[in-house]
């Protein structure tokens, strides 16, 4: 039952219980002894009185009548404040100091009174009893008496009032109770204070422990209520220290892990056992925009790839044993973005199996691979076409033996044309190789871009004339001074103009314009051709890259012009790009390139 009370109540209650017992038992014992003592004393007193009455009665002249005996009894009784009774052997009362003489004869037979019976047996008898005659508690003492005069042989008895004794005893008890209550009250108050005193350090200890519990691991218990509490306090302190250490270690590890994860160039996604995303790293947020709400969602809700979702489901459901090797797949997100994804099973102890998904961006790798493949395919294709012609015509001349000199001459001219084309291509390839090898930081002299443009246009003039295409020159009249190699700049203009003339509709115009920036000037070459498909635009500056469907129409181009332009411009520290269709138009394309301006 005590278990339900607080420590303080239990302490107080046990204190009070002990106090109560300690005060009550001795008082009861003391009271008992005292009352026995007092009774024995009164009894002895009564016997003494009895003896003196006996002695007085034997010294007195023999009484003449029972009346005079009654008188004597009364006088003596009044004197001694006791009751004196003479009882005959047959139990008849002869005289009694407290009863009127006339009524003595009517009194009860006293033969059965215990003190009288005892007196006959042992010469002296005592008893304490309530007297019906007097209506009081009395102590009786009786002794045998021989016959003398009117006094028959019988018993003389005195009764001393016991109530006097009782009154004293009652007084004593009252005092005792008062003292007990007083002591009890005082000690209750004292014990309460004492317990409070004990409680304060315990409370302090509790507060310290609570502070540790709520995360303040630097808190220590320094003062404790007693030696018994010292192991407890030390245990709590050590526990706090250990927790502090553990938390430091965990935090450190977490920070390290976070730094590693965020420092990785691969995107990482951690899945829990139900296949929902637990955490992601910084690199993944570069791959997948809007990743802030990813936690708690499924991969498909974040990455738009059903293959990834299926693979994750496989690993998490345990269908795929990824312990031996991770599940690998390639996923295509937006056009041109390819990721190599590895999924590893993560064996958790309690939470079941999760998974780690690692995204490796291989878009650039894939692109370069494609460029290389295309280059090899294109260069062989480009060289084979003229070679086939040369071979065919050469064989024809050989079989015909040069009989028809006119047709032989014509064939030889075709062979020469194709050889020239091949030689041009090889020249272009060599030039490209040289451009690629050259460092970018070459010192260029100031040249006038208008000169370069004019000589470039002159080179294309015959072709332009054939197709009736005119040049619209929007450059300033006194030209644009740029820091460049004149010959190379001319080649850039020539290549771009050639393309514009070749692809533009007959009777159209080619527009040249420029735009001055703080450091660079941007030249624009705009044609009215069919434009370049969006998916081809990033690749037209690659070697041999030709927009597929136009390849058949213009077999005389080497497919290296734009690649050479790009390299020249890059060597000048500029950049080249295309817009197709140009802003605000539905067809045609504009090539832009930048060249450093001459600072005045």
């Amino acid at each position: 039952m005590l278990k339900n009370f607080s420590f303080r109540s239990r302490l107080l209650l046990s204190f009070w219980g002990v106090l109560f017992l300690a005060l009550l038992l001795p008082s009861l014992y003391y009271r008992q002894i005292l009352s026995a003592d007092i009774e024995a004393d009164t009894r002895a007193n009564a016997i003494r009185e009895l003896n003196s009455v006996f002695w007085l009665a034997s010294q007195e002249q023999p009484f003449k009548s029972t009346a005079s005996l009654q008188e004597w009894c009364k006088a003596l009784g009044a004197q001694l404040e006791i009751r004196i009774t003479f009882v005959a052997r047959d139990g008849k009362v002869i005289a009694d100091s407290k009863v009127a003489f006339s009524r003595v004869s009517a009194m009860d037979n006293h033969a059965n009174r215990p003190e009288i019976i005892q007196a006959y047996k042992e010469e002296l008898g005592t008893s304490s009893r309530y007297s019906t005659t007097l209506g009081r508690h009395l102590i009786y003492a009786a002794r045998e008496i021989d016959e003398r005069g009117v006094i028959p042989s019988g018993v003389i008895r005195v009764a001393v009032p016991f109530s006097e004794v009782r009154k004293r005893l009652d007084n004593l008890s009252k005092n005792l109770i008062f003292i007990i209550v007083l002591t009890f009250g005082a000690t209750i108050f004292l014990s309460y204070l004492l317990v409070r005193q004990l409680e304060v350090p315990i409370q302090r200890m509790i507060r310290a422990a609570e502070a540790i519990e709520s995360g303040d691991y630097r808190e220590r218990i320094r003062r404790y209520p007693g030696k018994e509490f010292s192991p407890l306090a030390q245990a709590i302190n050590q526990m706090a220290e250990r927790i502090d250490d553990h938390i430091k270690t965990i935090t450190e590890q977490k920070q390290q892990l976070g730094a590693i994860l965020d420092g990785m160039s691969e995107g990482v996604m951690v899945l829990d056992s139900s296949g929902k995303i637990k955490t992601t790293n910084k690199a993944l947020s570069m791959i997948i925009p809007d990743l802030s709400t990813a936690a708690g969602r499924r991969p498909l809700e974040v990455v738009r790839s059903h293959e990834l979702q299926r693979a994750c489901d496989q690993v998490i459901s345990g269908d795929y044993e990824s312990e031996l090797r991770p599940l690998r797949l390639e996923i295509y997100l937006d056009p041109g973005r390819v990721f190599d994804v590895n999924i590893v099973q993560l064996g958790g102890q309690d939470e079941g199996i999760g998974a780690i998904v690692v995204f490796h961006d291989i878009s650039e790798l894939k692109r370069l691979e494609k460029v290389r493949q295309d280059f090899v395919a294109n260069v062989s294709h480009e060289l084979r076409t003229p070679l086939t012609s040369i071979k065919g015509y050469a064989e024809t001349i050989l079989t015909e033996g040069g009989e028809d000199s006119d047709s032989a001459r014509e064939f030889l001219q075709i062979i020469l044309k194709h050889s020239n084309q091949m030689s041009n291509m090889v020249d272009d390839l060599l030039q490209l190789a040289r451009l690629e090898a050259r460092e970018q930081s070459l010192e260029f002299k100031p040249v006038n871009a208008l000169d370069a443009l004019n000589s470039a246009w002159k080179a294309c003039a015959s072709l332009a004339g054939e197709r009736d295409i005119s040049l619209e020159n929007l450059l300033p009249e006194d030209g644009v001074m740029v820091r460049a190699d004149l010959e190379q700049l001319e080649q850039v203009f020539r290549n771009l103009l050639e393309n514009a003339v070749k692809y533009g509709p007959p009777g159209g115009t080619v527009t040249i314009a420029c735009d001055f920036g703080p450091v660079m000037t941007t030249f624009q070459v705009t044609d009215q051709g069919p434009g370049i498909p969006i998916q081809d635009q990033p690749r037209i500056f690659e070697r041999f890259y030709q927009v597929e469907k136009d390849r058949a129409n213009h077999s005389d181009s080497t497919g290296l012009g734009l690649a050479i332009c790009r390299h020249i411009i890059q060597n000048h520290g500029g950049s080249i790009w295309v817009e197709s269709p140009p802003e605000g138009k539905t067809n045609g394309s504009t090539f832009f390139f930048t060249v450093p301006l001459v600072k005045e």
């Binding site: 738009r304 790839s305 056009p335 927009v547």
Partner: protein, 221 residues
Amino acid sequence: MEIRRRFSQDLEDLKIEVLRMGALAERAVDKALQALFERNSDIAEEVIEGDQEIDLLEVEIDKRCLRLLALDQPMARDLRFIIGCMRVSINLERIADQAVNIAERALYLNQRPALPHQPLMEQLATISVDMLKRATSAFNNGKTSQASEVCQMDDRADELNLKILRHFIDYMIGEVQSVDRAVNTIIISRCLERCADLATNVAEAVVFIVEGVEIKHYCKP
């Protein structure tokens, strides 16, 4: 409580299935366009073969929805979500069918010489794919703002479709021998425009799920 948890798990699974279908449909349209623009017949074949998976998925989603409706008697948003998923999956299936149509036309066109490059087709393709992506993304995030963007983009798709039609009619008058190719291209343009319409339907279903408002044919909540 157990039943409730199972129910919400089922709803989550349903969403994943619909998203899976969305990803497949997007992939189908992307690939069909790739087959067309890059003149790659292998990819076109892949699209035609892949359509079966989307059809099966639609049946599966239908079953799931019916079971949820019958067994759990959903209320309010849950009910709208299930109905909305049915609508979205029907439209996604039709989009995938349009992708198959485009792939079939591409197979034909790839055997013939190419027509002159037409930037309008690319613009229409870009806008249709973009609308589809936005619509599935709106379904994924429950964003009605994104859904109404899709609705507004539909006008642009219609306009482009008309422009392409006019362009090819003019072209056919001049070049009789390329009539068949031009007609096929017009069909593709029409398919793309249908894709855009169906993406709009998906977006409308999203608004229905999130806000409980029917915006069919108005494009405004």
